[in-house]
Amino acid sequence: TVGSVAVDSSGHVGSGTSTGGICGKYKGRIGDTPQLGSGGYSDDKVGAVSTTGYGEAIMRYNLAHRILSKMDTGINAQEATKWAVEGMTERIKKTAGAITVSNSGEIGISFTSKRMSWAYVKDGEIHFGIEQGQHEVEKL
């Protein structure tokens, strides 16, 4: 699965998620990715999310919308993303990852699987990583 979230200079947000699904899935299996609130969600009043990982768990946990609801209580993007991703793994024992951007440009990146590749561009720098805790920065 691949995904993208963005905020423009006026605070408008959006998200996108695209996938081939899971290897060996049944013909006709529909995963989390196209389902609003699971594979992605965005609301200018809060922010935007794109998720990835074990689809059956992400659907049951409604991961994307749960992150934005948490942010709506005043929690920042990073804490809300980490809280929801870890909450899903704790509850359903499957791993996932999520990326979040708030309508003010806050960043949230969290994953409970072994790795998740991510990158973002902001203020003339590119940030990226793939290991737990890794955060590389390069000037553009």
């Binding site: 699965t1 990835t52 590749s117 991510w118």
Partner: protein
Amino acid sequence: VSPVILVHGGAGDIPDSAVQEKIDGVKQSALVGYKVLCETGLVLNAIEASINIMEDLEGFNAGRGSVLTLTGEVEMEALITEGKDLKAGAITLAKNIRYPISVARKVMEKTPHTFLGGAGLEDFIKKENIPRVGDDWLITDRAKYALEKFIEQGGRDAVTEIGKRPGDVG
């Protein structure tokens, strides 16, 4: 607000052999997306452009390089959302298209619906003259190998990430 675009290339048990390819791909995707965001000021343009990059790269499980169904086929899904008025476009069970995220956007912008799949999606793709791609573009050797491994192991441990070398499955 300082414009930002953040992308991911999938989470899972990504093998060592695929790490650098993944990092290179998400950096390329973020840079292209950011350029479009700065040029157009439109988040949907930036999101679509950044995801199209990864849909073309065989190292990512979307578009070209998608994982396979038990019957060795590619069935893709995509969702695009716009925060301004909570609009969204989604597709499922999509076959033989190059950019699923772009078709999801067309569903949002050109139909009265949010989510299309199966035969109805096929009619929409034809009506909109969306170009098709063959299995030779979509299905990679890695994906075939991963499915073989999956079946050999009795179909356990769903995988979403594939290694760069045959035999390196996520």
